[in-house]
Symmetry: C2
Amino acid sequence: MNDLNSTSAYEALKSRFHRLAALQGAQAVLHWDRATMMPEGGAQARAEQQAALAMVGHEMLTSPHLADLAQSAEETAAALPDWDRANLSEMRRLITHANATPADLVEKLARTRSETEMIWRSARAANDYASLAPALQRLLDLTRAQGEAKGAALGLDPYDALLDGYDPNRRAAEIDRLFADLEGFLPSLLREVMEVQRAGPARLPIEGPFRIDLQEKLGREVMEVLGFDFRHGRLDVSHHPFTGGVPDDSRITTRYDEADFTESLMAVIHETGHSLYERGLPEEWRLQPVGRARGMTIHESQSLLFEMQAGRTASFIAWLAPRLKDAFGGEGPAWSPDNLLRHYRKVGPSLIRVQADEVTYPLHVILRYRLERAMIAGDLAAAELPAAWNEGMEKLLGIRPPDDASGCMQDIHWPSGSFGYFPTYTLGALAAAQLFAAAKAAVPGLENSLGRGDFSGLIQWVRANVHSLGSSLTPDEIIVSATGGPLGTAAFQRHIEGRYLNG
Amino acid sequence: MNDLNSTSAYEALKSRFHRLAALQGAQAVLHWDRATMMPEGGAQARAEQQAALAMVGHEMLTSPHLADLAQSAEETAAALPDWDRANLSEMRRLITHANATPADLVEKLARTRSETEMIWRSARAANDYASLAPALQRLLDLTRAQGEAKGAALGLDPYDALLDGYDPNRRAAEIDRLFADLEGFLPSLLREVMEVQRAGPARLPIEGPFRIDLQEKLGREVMEVLGFDFRHGRLDVSHHPFTGGVPDDSRITTRYDEADFTESLMAVIHETGHSLYERGLPEEWRLQPVGRARGMTIHESQSLLFEMQAGRTASFIAWLAPRLKDAFGGEGPAWSPDNLLRHYRKVGPSLIRVQADEVTYPLHVILRYRLERAMIAGDLAAAELPAAWNEGMEKLLGIRPPDDASGCMQDIHWPSGSFGYFPTYTLGALAAAQLFAAAKAAVPGLENSLGRGDFSGLIQWVRANVHSLGSSLTPDEIIVSATGGPLGTAAFQRHIEGRYLNG
């Protein structure tokens, strides 16, 4: 074949991956539409569309001709410019991951994932874990088989192989170290913070209702302040907030509660962080593997950089408080920046991960990480999960769920087959603390400028040091190049202590 | 290959066409999103997604293995049940059409179509036909080449081959006959109708503004009355009204004008007619070729059955008028059913096809049909189009466009490469008149029930006699089986005379 000489082999690969990325973009829009626009009766048709696209993509990635092209291209990879070499290496990564799982396992996994997810929805609603356990065990068995197959292909342990699919080059040994650090200081720090907050001024309730159209209007204004470009994106409503679409058509969602504006607004800021990352990926590599976001740790670092780091600084909240007051026609001391800060910085153990504060959140993740490692290792069966969960909550957070719905059934991840995803939330939080510290050191007056609603310094820094790198470096290389050191817990610890003990 | 024995060959074909239809469903949703939701900056990314899907579909349809499967299956087609045999024959039709155009011509056509459409948008806005003509000529040349290639494969004249892509088995010789009939009576009938309307009571203006949220609310109510199922569909806004999505997720659009509710409402009724057809297609053949809508003449007959036939009956307007009056808080004789009827039945020559009444509309179509036939035959160049257009308007409608923007540049069809589409509008109008007459003859009291807002009789009849047939018959076979005779002009003439001269 003509395109098997190395230069044209690489060009042929680029053209195939371009098409693949365009098809994945189509999937992303369909996924967004399903969560925001689709009438319920469209579900079956949409499932067919998504399955067809997934199969076409899988067949493209596993075609023997594609593997031949990659091998030819790799023979002279050394002569390629840096970004092309990184692009080729990402292509290989994607090809290896796709080929590692046998086709019949791919198909079984897809079916069992959507079945288990459906069972989970009703089991959670009925608080009936027993009805979920058999399906979850089947899915777990298939996922372990997938981890073993991927592990064999990648030369990794099964759990590391799964992890690698969400966060390239991430290994459990490193996570063990980081999470042991966190467990070393977080529980005592949590007690200290709660003591400080108990001793401090009381949190005045902010009285609603807060009209949803006004919440939305304010959310849009904050998005613009954060640099969101509505010519290239949208804000809509979904059951769970998420960022969807593609870099040049980036669609975020939130959900509204008339009794409380704080969650919808922080969800908007969180998703805007994800969206800015997508938009800031290198434009000249839009539909190539090297142009994609670099895994879930870096992605989560970008949302948390805006939501938790910049978004909860005293200076930004001081900018935000009078605007909230105006927007909702509020009056009195409850609307003061200090009181708003007390709402946005309230710390304490709670049952539900997605509602947890930044001090306790890592403890939720550590629990899930240990449980899913044990499950993938075959040391914990689905039937044993509730007991292990409740015991872990008691040990890490000092509270025990009253039922499985607010315990081991609260998250969609395992019932949808995502094992190896959870740790990236906390790795992202560590990275966000480290990146924000580096940005403040590099950009004079950065924190003050947030107090004027000016995010340009932060955005320029993060564009240059994270977004524009795409997948040209590994996640850890990005952290090192942006912050001067490897991912660690020190910046996060300093951040928590600074904000909650000395703040 | 295993699947080349005839039974399993047919099953293998079904599975490939199932995937193809699912991918086309994905395209349909992306197309809808582009017109309703997409931010402008997403256009380039969307074009890549749509091109990738189109190429995947084209490659599936032209794969040699698919043709082999079809040939094997056809060897024992006679033994298949009727619907399967019709399904196989539709598969063959799609394969033949797809293979007829060489791959490089497909690619050139796609590129030139989107280029020409973009040039057309600015040329029309600037009323500058000279800037459009060269691109239009290039597109015309490519379309002629496509017509010749398809004609050679199908054993047809080039124009018939293009026509066949929009309306299976339709031939120009038949259209010539039908359009000659129309031209024989329409101009004089038009003069008579205008004379009657001049002599009748004056049309009282209905004063706005009409709030858009109220127009939308009323539109939704009318959709429900017409049988639209919002669990399987949506109503949104777009620049031009259309019906998109897939049968079980059928999405219609309209556009609103605060000064006039009549157009938005009739657009809703028109698109609901299209949507009911899609929803009523045979469910057990959802993602198979035989389960698809049967071409554009039948499709347009369904929208016009509701918009022009049922939707402008005196009984339905009598039901509608008080609801309009209530919805907008109107008062006085302008809101009477008679006056509303005078608005919805106003007849007279006009420049713009999409705003034309049902008496003059066919004359607009006849003009376009003759011009596009001449262009495809090579007898009319793009540069000569404006003069031919203006002369034709003068001859058929007695008016001359003041400029090309309201003349030969008004429609998107030619700049987007659709030659052979226009006649289906008027063939659809003829079919609608014939179907409505047959429905009234078959369902006692049908017209009276419309006066109670009860469309169930009409819907049941049209489901049984048109929708549920899918593509199991040719368009003309559907007309014959539903109305007892072939497509003709008699029912349409009786309809126009009955409504406008004796109505």
